[in-house]
Symmetry: D3
Subunit: 318 residues, 6 copies
């Protein structure tokens, strides 16, 4: 909630500054975290308690309704605001999310929020870079990914999709994890722990005459072949990736953590992903996402720049 | 600001309760003051300071924008609010209007706000009653005047217009002042200290051939005869009053204080009115309003019930 | 339809008067009936026929659309209306609901509508009072319940919830029935004739291992334990009641008639309620509603004041 | 008001039928009159009185607000209406415009409305035709002029602009008057009785060094040369006419009556026009409109077909 | 797409001309085709290719979104448009629908689009007339059917429903087909190839005790008796037809082609209809529609006037 | 128009990508020019003619209406667009702004647009940097100025206001001009060629007793003292600058060109500014803007980085 508070304040101020031409919603990007850690530090959850007896979770529904109402109210009134406006918003966030503490205690040591990041957690936030791969900007330059949740207009490094995969593989190998931003509203991203890019025509063929087809019948909406790995996948090119971005079938949906690599019985490579949807699915909260899926649907990743292969770092100029 | 704060809180809560079917604006009624004095007391202005260096007045424009935005935001989100919502609104009011103090000091004595009303000012708020005069409810019953600013749905005593005048005259004679709610967006309520109900036909006659008419000419929009007392006025009946209310030409505009009675050279009776528009007009902030105007355009008055003639009190049942 | 007509006329006039800050919808309150009986009397349905051959019911959908359109049209045009406007609305109501007759005939006697109430039905409408129980106003005063359907801003007497139950029990005992306004959009108010406040945790426990649970399974949305009386209920306090009103989980849904008291095998007390939903449910249109439910979800009741215990009447000042 | 009533009823019904894709406003076309005369006849104003004492004119503002509200209300409710809907609208029109009588008395003779047209006024409505001149439809065919006020989708005969002028001249010569629909929101259509198409460049030249220019100066917005006939005019072609219609600078503004032809000192031909703006301007309600203006800005005319030259009638096929 | 292009251009121009009081949607009427054939001719589909590799059909969803946006944009900006506006719209249509060719080649002969209609297809478009049957206009006159899709305001001949049936029967007998505009959102117009007007009361009776009723049960929403011909039908009168049009239960849904007449085992007459819904239903794209259905729900037909019986043609005046 | 075309295309694509959270209006920033020059080059105006005979300027009003309509249309339809959508927009721009040529001819040499920038004009666009001065980001880092017209999210270098002035002075001295983005909706930015920050209190004092004051009088709205340089100005601090940005009284209005420095009789320094408002004002299109005004109201500047003093460049890291 400390990080959420800091980001909401900045988002509201920017919303006012750009006359409301900004997506004021709950979503955000990885850089919201890294910037906030750098500028304001962070505290442990226990040090910023806010739930009253009987409350089970933060009332984000109401906070969002109020925040949006406040922003729209200010906009309707001409958009100029006094310093009291931001004071008001800070009070609202304090009411709903709790009061940001000035210290946090970890293993008996009292830290300021900023010191907790650097000394307590040992993080150097400037080590973290966002990397993506699209062709509408030159490779090995930076650009701000054009999605509504990138309200910070933060820059990502642009590399080829092959280099993006190389960066990811190298990071895992070296023991770094990766923050993975991806489109998950895809048929191939199942609710059962799998992310693949099935070759639908092949799938349809294998479905004919199957036991499932016999039971659910041709007119039944449930008669789509079920996606179970291993499945024959499409070969993903840089062009297919770009087309998905350009026609907006690839969307900026969700952030997860990649922590390993696995292979199935056919030798197909899968990234192991920690999802935040609870211990659901076949693998209790873990998703196995094929390299094809990652190539196709990754919006961007956040990685420690020390985990990037040297030759690629050189091309990136860092 | 103490009284404003207490009323805004109640208005917001009621707005939420009735699903927004309430006029959430800056306006209100006399009873907002008397109820607030009774329920919460009041403090001296000096004891609730809020202006920052350089600020000249409360930023009501921004407060209204924010309040409305908040209310609309809650309404859009379904209208159910948690206790944090009202806490939020109290914080906002504190930010813009100042923190309501728990005591006020008057002539060296420290009072609680409620004690200040009863002991410091010697007021018994239950002495104050609202009186009006309309025919769509029986006389000598109570009803809630149907105007948007009566968001409290407060009741007024309904008496004949003759009795209303008798109440006012008796109050002035006995040394009480009267809170006077009236329509002031009338041609006859000038910006120059006069409130009359001119007989427009008579006025038009006297205008022809006048010096003013000669100069401004017939096609000039400024060629309306200027209203200067004394002027021949219409005789106002209970029916004319009601018609003004029914067709909404009599509106609920403004609250002032009547403190005296005067007569002009023709013996026409005028009420002496303290207006809050600053020391403007011919009489430096005082208006002379004819009995005809008061009979026609008074929405309601707030008077001390002890200032009401006994026979009328009896009819009112108080 | 006679009563509906009289109320729609008053609602439209008030809507215009308060610049549209009023819920102009089909709903209303018990006092709409009692006021209308007192001011305009009532007639038997047979004396105000309006259905054409082939019509089965009043076209309220179209009448509401037209009424709202009319009201919005007048509002958009500035809100001032001539006397023709209300004449227009009376004509519309006559077209859809029928012409209000000047007499009604009952057991061979011809009555005026007002005489029919007093002489034909033997009712003295001033005997009927609305009673409620909330803590945001002092007990034993009156206040207008803040719900959209209370467009009349009518007052209710405020008593403790124990006194409210005492009033109801006394009325039933003395042979009076009670108009009961309640929230019915509660899980515990089933479509099968029961109104209870189940202890959900207890219910969940008993559900585990039940036959029903075995069949519908854990992921099935229908796997909620079915509510069948007798069931363990929550003990309802004045505070719980108030919280339901304040956070708007208790809503102003529906009006019914309480006509009796019953006990189940465990001795739990139920009020017997005539509902207007037709001969549905287990008891063919009758609902058995536990005292806990009534304590929790009653918005207000309308009772004959002669049915109220003397000590309570004294506290109420009537 | 008889004719207005009949047209409003048809307009409302059509509005409902075409799901609101119709301009429901006060405006209309000449054919509204001719169709209404033919289908419903007409009555003398005295036979359809409606003003109450004190009223000076029909309250069209309120009637329009109500009509629009009603139409929008029905549209929002899905657009399907019962027969009671149109009955409602007839009642509204009766309330505001008066009850359509079944007879009218003229010079002592009692007529039905239809007989009054044919026998009382001696009119054969089928003699009246609308004529226009545009190139986006073939000449000597009929088409519905595409303007919002042509809600009836009525057809006009399309002839060359020379033939249109020939028809008008012939009609005046034979003693017929002409209903003239024209754009009057043109600089050249003055408020002082003149309608011309000034050659603005020529006018600007003559303005330089004039006495007026000397006084009002170059930066003064009133420094446009005043338009006083005679003035040098543009020569109007069929193409210029069409361009004005296509780019919507020629609008469907106003209906007037042409009753004569005059020439000025330079021999320029003017049509003499009775306007309905009261006895205003230099010629007390009469406008002198040059042939150039008529060629340029005429939307359509309604003429008795017997007043059309035979050769043109032949081309028109009537 | 050639015909679609030509019609969209005209619709957009008219939308602008009538200030947007026109239904700018995908729908249209038969006359859109006949007018377009006459004014612009037509080309074979192969001569106006537009799909890119991978595209399966025209993207009408996007074209409609763009067209509507363009029209609304122009309307908001005041509604006056330059010639570049229509050039823009022609370009848009070219982008989405393809470039209208200047010739089309059929059986080795190269035609201009207009010649292709007259010489290639041997059609004389002026032979085709629209016929309908409603009572709110006199029979044997023409009027524009008041439905949103009749954006052209085209006229139809109005004949009795008996004559309409006679025209249809004669056409089929003489070997002409008929374009049939009808309401198809009727229970009796099944998705299985049948169009009838079942006598619902009779149907309900036969349902009781049936095998289907036994299985689906009384509370099941699927428990409506299934409509399978033969079924007892209602006898349709001219009044029922008119009522359906007046209360808008008969809607202007869909255009199909009638090409034959058939009788069932009971001798009931059915029209054989080619639908454009693909080879669906019991008869693989063919519908059997009873005369009762056609009498009730036909909006209008388009027929070759040479196929109309002589006596009816005489009454129609053609 | 070449540059406008290239920018509109990018703005539309970004608008679609970020779901419309972008200000799609006519405005932009200096970087629109520099990016466009770098990515697409530029052509001489003569080589991209588009006005038709009779047209005097580009119809931006209509183009904006159409562009906005198109964008809103796409947004309403879900925001996903096919490649045809951008093709459509390119066609629209071509229709209104002309076809972008593939070459431009300058002094007899034919260039490609990109070559024309580098070889014809000798510009290296990467030399140009945007510089600003605000305290909400650290000095000597880059950030995207948060104003609606910065739709590109371009970065500016952040320096102290003293360094910004030093950069400007050095540039002028070295013979470079400066693109100057500033707030011009200030009282002190007159329509007569002057930009100053008057000390209003001092000005008011000097006004009393002046000749102007005598004539226009105290109540006259024109009685504000006229601003004529030299005038006593406020001393501007970094804090005042930031406050103007934070409360949005400093707005992102207008771009001009600074080409020189001048001093008045008192030695006050003024920047000489070429405005694009035509040869208006006392200095025929030139404005003299005081250093105080520039310190206070400059949003950003675009300068050639070679014109920046070395020590400041070093701090900027370029």
């Amino acid at each position: 909630m400390y990080t959420v508070t800091k980001n909401y304040i900045e988002k509201m101020r920017k919303f006012i500054r750009v006359d409301g031409y900004l997506c004021f919603a709950e979503g955000g990007s990885f850089e919201d975290v890294s910037h906030s850690y750098e500028d304001y530090g962070v505290v442990l959850e226990k040090d910023m308690p806010n739930l009253l007896p009987g409350e089970k979770r933060i009332n984000f529904r109401e906070l969002t309704a109020i925040s949006t109402g406040l922003a729209e109210g200010a906009k309707k009134a001409g958009g100029k605001v006094s310093p009291r406006f931001m004071e008001t918003y800070r009070n609202i966030l304090e009411t709903y999310l709790g009061k940001c503490p000035e210290t946090t205690t970890y293993k008996g040591v009292v830290y300021s929020p900023k010191d907790f990041v650097t000394k307590g957690l040992g993080l150097n936030m400037s080590d973290y870079v966002s990397v993506t791969s699209f062709t509408h900007y030159p490779f090995y330059t930076q650009f701000a990914i054009e999605v509504p949740d990138n309200w910070r207009w933060d820059l990502s490094y642009n590399v080829t999709i092959d280099d993006l995969i190389a960066i990811m593989d190298n990071a895992i190998e070296k023991g770094y994890t990766i923050a993975w931003g991806s489109d998950v509203s895809e048929t191939g991203f199942t609710r059962d722990g799998i992310g693949v890019v099935p070759d639908m025509e092949d799938l349809a063929k294998s479905f004919v005459g199957s036991d499932q087809a016999r039971w659910v019948g041709g007119n039944n909406p449930q008669a789509r072949p079920q996606i179970v790995a291993p499945v024959k996948e499409l070969a993903i090119t840089q062009e297919m990736r770009q087309e998905g971005y350009d026609n907006k079938t690839t969307t900026d949906d969700h952030g997860m953590q990649i922590f390993g690599i696995a292979k199935d019985q056919n030798g197909t490579k899968y990234y192991m992903v920690k999802n935040s949807w609870g211990p659901t699915g076949k693998y209790k909260g873990i998703w196995y996402v094929s390299e094809a899926f990652v190539r196709y649907k990754t919006m961007n990743i956040l990685v420690n720049k020390n985990s990037i292969p040297k030759d690629i770092r050189k091309k990136m100029g860092i």
